[in-house]
Amino acid sequence: MANVISDETMGYVGILAKLELSEEEKQAAKKDMESMLDYIDKLNELDTSKVEPMSHVFPVKNVFREDVVENGDGGEATLANAPEKRDRAFVVPKTVDQ
């Protein structure tokens, strides 16, 4: 395997993904990620300097909506999945930036 993911990178990715992994899970994820990177590295075997980066598979452009209200009150459906709700709002652990 050519690509090596350090423990530090693993920890950082964990923070970004908000995941708390056990030592075993970390090692397994590391292995997976390394093999994914190796797979992507195959692209380096080709000269892609003249290829435009592709973000979409289909040659479609300009899909628009007109600015017309069509949706009614979606509150009930939206809150149907809420683990906890109050006053028509989702209840989440307190979030304050401080």
Binding site: L16, A77, T78, R88
Partner: protein, 476 residues
């Protein structure tokens, strides 16, 4: 402080666009509904939902770009900005990083030292987040996704500003341009215009920028000015005492007058942008771009010039009338009706402004119809009512938008032009005030003012002051 420092400021301004629906779904953007009323699977990030771009958002973004002298990217795309926060149900915000719709523009502001251009690095389209309400008693927050998916444009300036005054001038200019375009109401107090301030200091003459900090979401012009002052002082203090400015995001607490670092290392600002796979590219044809250019309304600078040239208004009047689009709209509609631009201007700059201030209102809150102001002007000009009655009538127009013709008729406010009746009253006033009469005859010109006042009082304010003066002088 021996060294001289210079403040370097760049702004990121978020503006909520005035569309009827959200950017990627047909939920309403209406303000003030019960929490989560305007939500659907798209704007709450349900798996499998598909965003579809609101065409009006693209047109508003293009219009703002054209009006701020930007280049329009005729090939533009959306990207995902990944972060976790409960106001963001998808765990990513759809935004534009690599190919924003507008770039490399700029607007001119007035400064103490003359005109100055503030560069605009780019303008991109993105979606707003939901709103969190923090419970005061419990360790919970309530989430409302009504704002989630409301369209925003983010206008990123170059670091071209050097003082709070320049920042305010830039924001004010932007606000007016966008209001004139009708792309947003830009009300800072309601959050439809918000600014992040990027600020660093350096020694005067230094070529390199200092380390900058970012202050997020400051909600008023005054708070921005205070935040800039405090952050400048804080950074200079750090440098003077040999410490380093840390690149970080800070939150400005306007009540307490200080800022504090907002994000910890655990919340690294690593957004791992990647192209948004659910939205196809936007290709703007030359024709479409030309159409948007052709549809640009008259902007503030053009109006400013035209009001002076076409209506012969003093620059001062034109400045004030064009400072808020609503005022300019009322001015133009009223002038169209009564053809007396200077009179209309006087009523708007005088009584209207006075009443707005008295009621703690903004010009945007003006509710009276131009036709009713035009009628007040016509009644006054025709001498049907005198100027003090006109002010009372206008107050009614201002607060209740009454029809002045009817009101004057019903309340019997017409000026008494009946010379006989007036003469009778004045004769009585002269009889009752021999001292003033004597004073006047002895050369005290001012005494006549008292007699005019007494006459007006006796006529309940409805006499024609010119006529009162004339008859008084005649009888004396």
């Amino acid at each position: 402080m021996s060294k001289q420092y210079e403040t370097v400021i760049g702004l990121e301004v978020h503006v909520e666009l005035a569309t009827k629906t959200k950017i990627f779904c047909s939920c309403s953007t209406a303000f003030g509904s019960a929490p989560n009323t305007h939500t659907c699977p798209v704007c709450t990030g349900m798996p499998g939902s598909l965003p579809v771009l609101n065409k009006q958002v693209v047109e508003y973004a293009m219009a703002v770009g054209v009006a701020t002298n930007c280049q329009i990217n005729q090939y533009s795309k959306f990207d995902r900005k990944n972060y976790f926060y409960p106001d963001n149900p998808q765990n990513y915000q759809i935004s534009q990083l690599y190919l924003p719709i507008c770039h490399d523009g700029g607007i001119e502001i007035e400064t103490e030292n003359g005109k100055k251009t503030i560069g605009i690095h780019e303008i991109h389209m993105e979606e707003d987040a939901g709103k969190l309400v923090h419970d005061d008693w419990e360790e919970v927050s309530l989430v409302d996704y009504n704002r989630s998916g409301v369209p925003l444009i983010e206008i990123v300036s170059e670091p071209d500003m050097r003082s709070a005054e320049e920042v305010i001038a830039y924001l004010d200019k932007l606000r007016m341009i966008i209001q004139y375009l009708g792309a947003s109401d830009c009300k800072m107090q309601e959050g439809s215009m918000r600014a992040d301030v990027n600020l660093s200091v350096r020694e005067v003459g230094a070529k390199e920028f200092g380390t900058r900090t970012e202050m997020k979401n400051i909600g008023s012009f005054k708070a921005i000015a205070r935040a800039i002052e405090a952050e400048t002082a804080r950074q200079i203090d750090l440098i003077e005492s040999g410490e380093k400015v840390v690149q970080e995001t800070r939150r400005w607490n306007d009540e307490q007058g200080y800022s504090y670092a907002m994000r910890s290392k655990e919340d690294a600002q690593d957004y791992r942008y990647f192209p948004e796979p659910d939205l196809v590219p936007i290709v703007i044809s030359d024709e479409w771009l030309q159409q948007v250019k052709d549809n640009q309304p008259e902007l503030r600078d053009e109006k400013l010039k035209r009001y002076q040239e076409e209506f012969g208004l003093p620059e001062y009047d034109a400045q004030i009338l064009t400072s808020v689009k609503k005022l300019a709209d009322v001015f133009e509609a009223t002038t169209e009706l009564c053809k007396k631009p200077k009179k209309v201007s006087n009523w708007l700059m005088g009584e209207t402004m006075r009443l707005l201030k008295e009621h703690d209102m903004d010009p945007e809150d003006i509710k009276f119809s131009p036709i009713n102001l035009a009628k007040v002007i016509e009644l006054t000009e025709a001498g049907t009512i005198n100027s003090s009655v006109a002010k009372d009538v206008f107050e009614k127009v201002f607060s209740e938008d009454i029809d002045p013709d009817k009101y004057v008729e019903e309340k019997g406010l017409k000026t008494v032009n009946d010379e006989g009746a007036l003469r009778e009253t004045i004769e009585k006033i002269i009889q009752d005030n021999p001292q003033s009469v004597e004073d006047y005859r002895n050369g005290k010109e001012k005494a006549i003012g008292f007699l005019v006042g007494q006459t007006m009082k006796a006529m309940k304010g409805k006499a024609n002051p010119g006529m009162v003066n004339k008859i008084l002088k005649e009888l004396l």
